[in-house]
């Protein structure tokens, strides 16, 4: 019988199975940020267990609130920073070199097909784009991960979503994943893994696959995951070229983690994108999704382009193409947060930052920023944001605020219009 991607990864990492459905896996990486890690560090210290299983397999970043905004967040940063120094964690990214965790860690080549990765962040599922099993966990799991290099999971049950058809112009990976969440619901994949497959995924670049996998958790999934292929190899090549003689050799090594054609799935969902239109959320749940045209004219106060979902270079390029030579509405505040310093500097070189600024956007440093209303870009009670982020929960971007999730193209077009609108209006 064939195996799914996750089954293969579980089989190669299992160290124990304390009961039938429970698997303790060895970790290839534990990622850390300054919101969920400091409490883990303090707990370990207070229990006399201030150790790390392998400083080379721990990667840490300050990304949620940076620069620090107050004494509490300064202390969170300090605890992480001191800990990274104390344990000789070389891959620690502090201000000036920091970026959104789920953008900067892949960019640095820390994610490989077949890896097991945990992080105290629900959007860790993003890294499944590389054919890795990557899962968000809480602080206690993180403590154990840091200390022992293991984590516990239930038997992986996988839903396969086959995405077929031709992506219409103006429709992006974000629209695809929003439509999928709208269809299966916020509880549609709870305790399961979503394997994204099919010709559309095969054609997607790594950034698009990351956008898909990033939002798998919004359907409840443990991880979103894509088959590793030549696109994966090419993205990682600069980091792996000393390990493999050729790209083909790397592909052969990675393909052992690809799903078998006779793998068994809990469910297989067919998704045709031929007639897919740009999507947007309404309400306070990510499965409240409808076509943008049905929300046309909805007033907005703020537009936010950034985050681990859509703050990468291609996202900025798409938005800049729409914004070029135009001004955003006087009724709207525009904020863009390039997700990493590399993306920021690439956007500068390509003139994208200037386009954003000329259009009237505020360009912030790389940070999680407005997405979760912890640092900048917080909404006032009753305000509305058109956002390229991943969560529209009540209060997410500030108490009493409302967030509409959408693609960078729709967000840019809406910034110009001053209300939710389709990017079709601002073509060329």
């Amino acid at each position: 019988m064939g195996k799914t991607i996750a089954e293969k990864i579980f089989d190669s990492h299992r160290v124990d199975s304390p009961s039938e459905d429970i698997h303790v896996l060895n970790l290839d990486a534990a990622f850390c940020h300054e919101i969920t890690t400091p409490i883990a560090i303090n707990n370990l210290v207070s229990k006399g267990k201030d150790r790390v299983f392998d400083p080379l397999k721990i990667k840490a970043v300050i990304d949620h609130v940076t620069p620090a905004k107050d004494s509490n967040t300064a202390m969170q940063g300090k605890i992480l920073r001191d800990w990274a120094r104390r344990h000789d964690i070389k891959d620690f990214f502090d201000i000036g070199r920091n970026g959104v965790c789920h953008a900067i860690f892949p960019e640095k080549g820390f994610v490989r097909p077949g890896f097991t990765i945990i992080m105290g962040d629900s959007h860790t599922c993003t890294h499944g784009a590389f054919g890795a099993f990557a899962a968000g966990i809480g602080t206690t799991d993180l403590e154990v991960g840091i200390l022992k290099g293991v984590c516990v999971f239930h038997t992986p049950v996988t839903i396969k979503i086959n995405i077929a058809g031709r992506m219409p112009e103006g429709v992006y990976a974000k629209d695809v994943i929003l439509s999928i969440i709208g269809r299966i619901g916020v509880n549609g994949a709870t305790n399961k893994i979503i394997e994204f497959a099919g010709p559309v995924v095969d054609k997607m670049d790594m950034e698009e696959r990351m956008t898909l996998c990033n939002m798998a958790v919004e359907a409840g999934a443990t991880c979103g995951i894509c088959n590793p292929d030549m696109t994966t190899v090419k993205y990682l090549w600069e980091f792996i070229k000393d390990e493999y003689s050729t790209k083909k050799a790397a592909l052969e090594a990675f393909e052992k983690y690809a799903a078998d054609s006779d793998a068994l799935y809990d469910d297989v969902i067919e998704c045709d994108v031929n007639n897919l239109e740009p999507q947007v959320t309404f309400g306070y749940k990510p499965d409240n999704v409808k076509p943008v045209k049905e929300m046309e004219g909805t007033p907005i106060d703020q537009v936010y382009i950034g985050s681990c979902t859509n703050g990468r270079i291609n996202d900025l390029r798409v938005a800049a193409k729409i914004l070029k030579g135009r001004k955003i509405s006087n009724l709207v505040r525009g904020i863009v947060s390039p997700a990493t310093p590399k993306i920021y500097s690439q956007a500068m070189e390509e003139g994208i930052i200037k386009i954003f600024m000329d259009a009237g956007f505020c360009v912030t440093n790389p940070t999680c920023g407005a997405c979760l209303g912890m640092s900048n870009g917080v909404l006032a009670d009753g305000e509305v944001c058109a956002s390229t982020t991943n969560r529209n929960f009540n209060g997410r971007m500030g108490k009493g605020g409302m967030v509409y999730l959408m693609s960078p193209a729709t967000a840019a077009a809406s910034a110009i219009a001053g209300h939710i609108t389709n990017s079709e209006l601002y073509k060329g």
Partner: protein, 174 residues
């Protein structure tokens, strides 16, 4: 082992998320105790006054997919510092459920029809649950009514509750 008995807070909605349990703006706190006043602050439910209604409650009974959203263990902690160590629901989001047992707390699933029955019979009344951990049994009581409901959790989850959490368990084993 923690206390799993006491007065019930009913939350009659599915998909109550972690931002509703404890909003992100309080994640800059670095002690669990500091979360205490903010439990359920952003949860808009008819007839719920978060600060007030949480007081004196030890158990939450709710519907499906409780704790969806973020990975923040601040959600169980915010419950814990308010004296709530047990949530009974139709189903839970994975990370939240794991976080509960990792902290030596309990997230117990009951079939939808049982939850519906509990809401019908006990919802809106002052209700108490007594948990018999050994027998895996809840005794639900309100004035003039009393019912026994058996639950099941895995041996592993049971071991975590007994050990006081996953760190203690894992450190002795791996």
């Amino acid at each position: 082992m923690k206390n799993f008995s006491g007065k019930v807070l009913f939350l009659d909605r599915s998909d109550i998320n972690t931002d509703e349990i404890i909003p992100a703006r309080y994640l800059t706190e670095i002690s669990k105790e500091a979360l205490k006043p903010y439990l359920l602050e952003d949860l808009n439910l008819e007839e719920l006054i978060p600060g007030q209604d949480v007081d004196g409650k030890s158990i939450i009974i709710t519907r499906a997919n409780f704790g969806c959203g973020s990975s923040r263990e601040h959600a169980p902690w915010a419950l814990e510092v308010n004296g709530i160590n047990l949530v009974i629901a139709e189903s839970f989001a994975r990370i939240f459920r794991q976080n509960m047992f990792n902290c030596g707390m309990m997230a117990v699933e009951l079939p939808p029809e049982t939850i519906e029955h509990i809401f019908t019979v006990f919802g809106g009344r002052e209700t108490f649950v007594e948990t018999d951990f050994k027998e895996s049994k809840f005794t639900i009581k309100t004035q003039g009514k009393k019912e026994d409901i058996f639950y099941s959790i895995s041996d592993f989850d049971r071991a975590l509750v007994k050990a006081g959490g996953w760190l203690e368990y894992a450190d002795s084993k791996y």
